[in-house]
Symmetry: C2
């Protein structure tokens, strides 16, 4: 169990919110890159690329230099995956990662960034619902038209 300050120091995210289960319990959590590929659905290329651009905390290495991911890294990748499908640019996620690495004094900035993201997500959901309505009406139209001979507008 690590303190908040420790978590901030070693670059992992402080609040690993979801109480989801990890493949291996804390303490025995050491995953090769291909295991992480299997868990996340990302490619090894992408995982290495995330690291190069600064989107990942420092990843442990084996004595021969191979990457060994831990549970906190898996949690981080989970968050990144969620943010990615909101349409958030990778550069913004890197910004957030930098704030996490920088330590506790960046809480306010992290809050602002997440709050802005939240607004974006809310707006996107609204847009999608709007699109859904249009789609539903068109689908109804084609369903009706397939049943009756094409003769009426709407």
């Amino acid at each position: 169990m690590e303190t908040l300050a420790e978590a901030a120091e070693n670059g992992t995210d402080v609040c690993s919110v979801p109480p989801e289960r990890h493949p291996r319990p804390d303490g025995q959590d050491s995953y090769t890159i291909s295991e992480v590929v299997a868990f996340t659905g990302l490619t090894a290329h992408t995982l290495r690329w995330y690291e190069r651009i600064g989107l990942m905390p420092h990843i442990d290495r084996s004595h021969t230099g191979q990457r060994r991911y831990c549970n906190a890294d898996l949690d981080w990748l989970d968050l990144v995956g969620k943010l990615r499908l909101t349409g958030m640019p990778v550069a913004d996620m890197v910004r957030y990662a930098e704030l996490v690495r920088a330590g506790d004094h960046t809480y306010a900035e992290r809050y602002d960034l997440l709050e802005a993201t939240r607004r974006d997500v809310l707006a996107r959901i609204a847009e999608l619902k709007d699109t859904l309505a249009v789609l539903n009406r068109k689908i109804d139209f084609y369903a009706d038209a397939g049943r009756a001979p094409a003769s009426e507008r709407r």
Copy 2:
């Protein structure tokens, strides 16, 4: 007022569902590319590119060869805009445009395409709601942490 068959023939979409108002009434609907830019928020480059790749029906031209868009074109661009923000690839939208141009006998295929899109949209909304929940918990965490001294995990 055009019949369904006419609409299908001239390549516009048969069911222009939303009863939204156009800048000019049918009959006087003739817009330059820059007017369409103003209405849609797209760039002129993008409008010409959409035409080149087959995403637009045939656009009228003035006697000197300049584009003159009509209300139906605006409706089509509105639909394209909505589909675009669902994340649908442009190639799929081109496919739908081809089906519309091909005529009435493609109703079943259009239905299938829209139905598949609908499922995608529903799935994306669910994903976004999931992300929103994570975001909300993190935001709450940082809001609390900003108030109290950083000392407790969560």
